[in-house]
């Protein structure tokens, strides 16, 4: 077979003339610098390859070498606490070889080949193993026990096992003979093609919430474990801030944070903050449960396209071990733009706004990899996807937002005017929705309080009524409204400022347990009910407002510490006293 030579170069897209022995989506090494690339189209005339690194200096006539395997992620201990680029190259090791600026053609193994892990073997000679079965474990971080699983497409009888002890990722720990009599060596790591979903036994119904400690999310628009959510918002509305808050506080076992085409300084901030912050639930550093994938906006565009798949593959791998994984993708719009950019270089026929026609199918393929599942070894786990969307011109009717909306069940719309008023998180309660409210009803009733969802509905109704009343207020001012409607507006203000608005920099307010969320709702509703009764009796709302009780309820979020929820009970007496004073 004659060697494959480069025939044309256009940005990250390289072609070979004539038929080749390369297969679709095969990973290749391009040119003398061995840049990493992937085959994206094959025809009788030419084979097209996208290159994951900058092609400057590449020459026509240089050789392209196939690897015989699709672009794959290496899965094994050492992933957690690490930071990778879009094709799973460890950035810290690249820094050691290349310095502060990333060079080209780095062929550094994803997982440290030197590091020894404290391995416990879980099988013995003669055991029958199927794909997904756990044959060895080792502590990966203080929080995470790594469970090595037989690759899904392999099964057989154990023919040899090593003793428990120290091994590197590439050491053979178990030997397996399949039904054809071929012996396979199982090491601590395995490869899996990033664009292929990892197989599972079955999907489970989604009925447990992912608790985030953010009131507007947990109470108003909850997300389930194994669910999907999108956070769309123009620049400066706090998408990244919201993603950071969720990554810090949500009750998943493992967080995969994909910085896809975003700012370098933001990734540095995540790195720094997560290595300093202590998770209150486990007492360990947040990095002990976090993987970062950083493909910043100035890193090669093709690797940006791959970074989303790398992230979800790592998430699925840990899900199969029986962990609850949440993946934050910031931002999926940059990924869609990478698709557009490559599609443009391929001179494909564009659909809406220059995006390729296959955009919706790619988006749905990605979000469909979320779910609450039973893996091949019987362990329950979940992958929750939370994707940020950066709509062009803050216009939610653009293709990426619209197509994402079709495939996610939770939509947290960030609002510019709320962000301008520094109301954070700037999730607009009128345009956001969560389809999980009904499915999670049972869990909330059983675990937080039976009245939780009913109270939530009353809060939502008050906000909705306020929205209608504001239409009138905008036209003629609030003075003309009758007192009972003024009360709705005042109560809604308490809900907005005292409940929905949450201060990420305040020690008590940054994470709020569900019990306090329910307690706060109850106090607010009690205040509303008591005032409504007073107004019915003919008391003026202005007199009630003068007592300052509304302001006091607003500050509950700061004044009642999460550890002293019994203090909430005092507020009922305070409200009664304040209102008694009016009479």
């Amino acid at each position: 077979m004659s060697s494959n030579l480069i025939n044309s170069i256009n940005g990250p897209v390289v072609t070979i003339k004539g038929p080749t022995d390369l297969t679709m989506q095969e990973m290749v090494y391009v040119g003398s610098k061995k840049l990493i690339g992937e085959v994206i189209s094959i025809s009788a005339e030419r084979t097209t390859i996208q290159v994951y690194e900058t092609t400057t200096g590449l020459r026509v006539g240089e050789e392209i070498i196939g690897t015989g395997a699709p672009l794959s992620a290496t899965l094994g201990p050492g992933i957690i606490s690490n930071i990778f680029d879009g094709i799973e190259r460890p950035l810290e090791d690249i820094e050691k070889t290349d310095g502060a600026f990333i060079g080209t053609g780095s062929s550094i193994p994803s997982l440290d080949p030197e590091r020894k892990w404290d391995v416990t073997i879980k099988v013995s000679v003669g055991d029958e193993l199927r794909g997904g079965d756990i044959y060895a474990t080792c502590p990966e971080t203080p929080l995470i026990e790594h469970r090595c699983m037989v690759p899904p497409n392999l099964s057989g009888r154990v023919s040899a096992v090593m003793t428990n002890g120290q091994y590197t990722v590439n050491d053979c720990v178990v030997k397996l003979v399949d039904k054809d009599g071929v012996e396979h060596e199982l090491t601590l790591c395995q490869k899996w093609p990033i664009r292929v979903e990892r197989p599972i036994l079955k999907r489970m119904p989604i009925e447990r919430p992912l608790i985030t400690g953010q009131r507007v999310i947990d109470t108003m628009f909850p997300i389930a474990k194994g669910g999907t959510a999108a956070i769309p918002g123009g620049f400066g509305t706090g998408k990244t801030m919201t993603q950071h808050q969720l990554a810090k506080w949500c009750d998943a076992d493992i967080i995969v944070y994909v910085g896809c085409g975003e700012r370098g300084n933001e990734m540095t901030q995540v790195l720094k903050e997560f290595s300093e912050l202590i998770d209150p639930k486990s007492g360990q550093k947040l990095t002990a449960r976090t993987v970062l994938i950083a493909n910043t906006s100035n890193m090669p565009v093709a690797a940006r396209e791959a970074s989303i798949y790398t992230g979800i593959t790592l998430a699925e791998y840990y899900r199969d071990m029986g962990y609850h994984v949440a993946i934050m993708a910031d931002s999926t719009s940059r990924w869609a733009e990478a698709l557009r950019e490559i599609s443009g270089r391929l001179e494909e026929m564009p659909a809406e706004e220059g995006f390729p026609a296959y955009l919706p199918s790619r988006i749905s393929q990605f979000y469909e990899r979320a779910g609450y599942t039973v893996s091949l070894n019987g362990a329950e786990g979940s992958v929750t996807i939370i994707g940020a969307v950066s709509p062009q011109g803050s216009d939610f009717s653009e293709p990426v937002t619209q197509n994402t909306k079709r495939f996610v069940r939770c939509f947290w719309a960030l609002d510019k005017s709320l962000a301008y008023a520094r109301h954070y998180p700037a999730i607009n309660w009128n345009t956001s929705y969560s389809e999980y409210v009904d499915t999670l009803n049972r869990w909330y009733s059983a675990n937080v309080g039976r009245e939780f969802m009913a109270d939530r509905q009353r809060i939502a109704t008050l906000l909705h009524e306020e929205n209608d009343l504001m239409e009138i207020v905008k036209l003629i001012g609030s003075d003309v409204l009758p007192d009972d409607q003024k009360l709705v507006i005042e109560t809604a203000k308490v809900i907005r400022v005292g409940f929905l608005q949450q201060n990420a920099y305040h020690a008590e307010d940054t994470y709020v347990p569900l019990e306090k969320q329910l307690g706060m709702m109850k106090v607010i509703l009690y205040l509303y009910d008591q005032c409504a009764a007073m107004i019915k009796k003919g008391h003026a709302i202005s007199a009630i407002l003068e007592t300052g009780i509304f302001g006091e309820v607003v500050k509950i979020k700061y004044d009642v510490p999460n550890s002293k929820l019994e203090m909430l009970d005092d507020y009922y007496t305070k409200i009664d006293q304040a209102l008694a004073a009016v009479i």
Partner: protein
């Protein structure tokens, strides 16, 4: 390697095609020699078999298929670097045009740069005091940040940039040098001259490297200008340990040049005809700001862009806003009311501000006062909107108070003028005095302890009285 080829195969706008090329690399430089002995430079932008497409920086006027000899230089476009660049004026592709002779270079660097490893970055935290209240208090500039000015034609963005240069205390530590890299892309001669004069008046001219690509210079050269400027900035910051402020004006012209180039190449256009890779291209400029672990210097960027038709959703400001760490938005109606600097506070933002202010950086109460000013000024807009419907007379007492607060805020806080340089203490105290115009119950972003210390209704009332007295 240096190959010489006689003749060209095709000329189309700024692009020429050459056949029969072997051994040339993608994005490498070429030199075109005309019959009259003049030379032009170009870059390979596409390769297909033995055919190369080359963009010619100086334009293709006077070229024919026969009269040109092309030399493949075998290296990418490079910038000659040396500390001697300080004080010099260069053209858009980095050659001196001030008549002071050639520059003796210490090293040459590919202008495309390499992506900075996120692991090697230091998270920027040191604030730069600009002496402008609106910026220092509400959208604090941090060393290593990229904070663009979103403006429109006819507004005073250049004056604001000049004032920042004049007042900014970029090198706070002892022994650290500072420098300015100024890149003009498609601006008029007057604007370039304005900056040159203001640098001279401030006495910083010998610390400035000026790159000038004026509006009548070739557009292909314009595409190189910011890359040359940023390569210089990175060299001075990360190898010579200087604190560098990069001012790039006007990014919109740069993007238009990119669009012109892209369409002449026959690429599929994205939004408003701009190429689909505009985001990646802009990111490759803006992301070259920062601080790294291994060097003492820093690169801070203030790109200036004029929003076509004052439209913030236009692709250029829109994509810029998604990459940069905040933005300073100028407002035409403030400008028309004679307020300088006409900073529109609400849409402006500095993302890095939260970690660079407060105890140990500026002052402990900084974030409280800035949050409250934002929230209160947002309510002023509601009151204004209502007033425009029902008239100011009909407003409720509290809305009227907000209107007064808004006027005082614009009069005292924003409208500080070109020659006023306020310290951070002056700015923050002024903020508290303005907030004291409002009743204490309206200040819901501040905790009670701080209010007791800082809330002085008599000072607020005095400000109002003074303002009315003037009016």
């Amino acid at each position: 390697m240096s190959l010489k080829i006689v003749g060209l195969s095709e000329i189309n706008g700024p692009l020429v095609a050459l056949d029969g090329i072997h051994g040339a690399g993608y994005e490498e430089m070429v030199e075109l020699e005309l019959q009259d002995g003049t030379t032009r430079t170009g870059r390979i932008v596409q390769m297909d078999g033995d055919r190369c497409i080359i963009q010619v920086f100086e334009g293709t006027r006077g070229l024919s298929l026969q009269n040109t000899t092309t030399t493949i230089l075998g290296h990418p476009v490079e910038m000659s670097l040396s500390k001697e660049l300080l004080g010099r004026v260069l053209n858009g592709s980095g050659r001196p045009i001030d008549g002071l002779g050639e520059i003796y270079w210490e090293k040459k660097e590919d202008i495309n740069g390499k992506p900075l490893n996120p692991v090697s970055r230091t998270y920027p935290r040191n604030y730069i005091n600009t002496g402008i209240s609106a910026i220092d208090c509400l959208m604090t500039l941090i060393r290593g940040q990229k904070l663009p000015i979103f403006s429109g034609s006819g507004m005073q963005h250049n004056k604001l940039a000049a004032q920042i240069v004049k007042q900014a205390n970029i090198a706070a530590e002892e022994g650290q040098e500072f420098g300015i890299v100024f890149a003009a892309m498609g601006v008029t001669n007057d604007v370039a001259d304005y900056f040159r004069r203001s640098f001279e008046e401030t006495g910083v001219m010998d610390r400035v490297v000026m790159f000038l690509n004026l509006s009548n210079d070739p557009i292909i050269e314009r595409i190189l200008t910011p890359k040359c400027a940023l390569t210089t900035a990175e060299y001075l910051a990360f190898e010579k340990d200087m604190h560098i402020l990069v001012i790039m004006t006007d990014i919109t012209s740069y993007c238009e040049a990119l669009r012109e180039f892209s369409s002449s190449k026959g690429e599929i256009p994205g939004r408003k005809g701009y190429p689909g890779y505009l985001y990646s291209d802009l990111a490759s400029l803006y992301e070259r700001a920062g601080v790294i672990d291994t060097a003492k210097g820093s690169v801070t960027q203030i790109p200036i862009l004029t929003m076509p038709n004052d439209d913030i959703t236009h692709p250029v400001p829109d994509l810029t806003g998604y990459i940069t760490e905040g933005q300073i938005v100028l407002d035409r109606s403030l400008d028309q009311n004679g307020i300088y600097p006409p900073i529109s506070v609400l849409p402006s933002l500095s993302r890095l501000m939260k970690d660079g202010i407060g105890e140990g950086y500026t002052r402990a109460d900084h974030s409280a006062v800035s949050n409250q000013l934002f929230a209160s000024y947002a309510k002023v807009q509601d009151a204004k909107a209502l007033a425009s419907v029902i008239g100011e007379e009909e407003l409720s007492a509290s809305d009227k108070l907000y209107m007064d607060f808004g006027k005082a805020f614009e009069h005292y806080f924003l409208d500080q003028g070109f020659d006023t340089d306020r310290t951070i203490d002056e700015t923050l105290d002024l903020g508290w005095d303005l907030l004291s115009i409002l009743p204490q119950s309206e200040l819901d972003r501040v905790d009670n302890k701080l209010l007791e210390e800082k809330y002085h209704p008599e000072r607020g009332a005095a400000l109002l009285k003074e303002m009315r007295g003037e009016a």
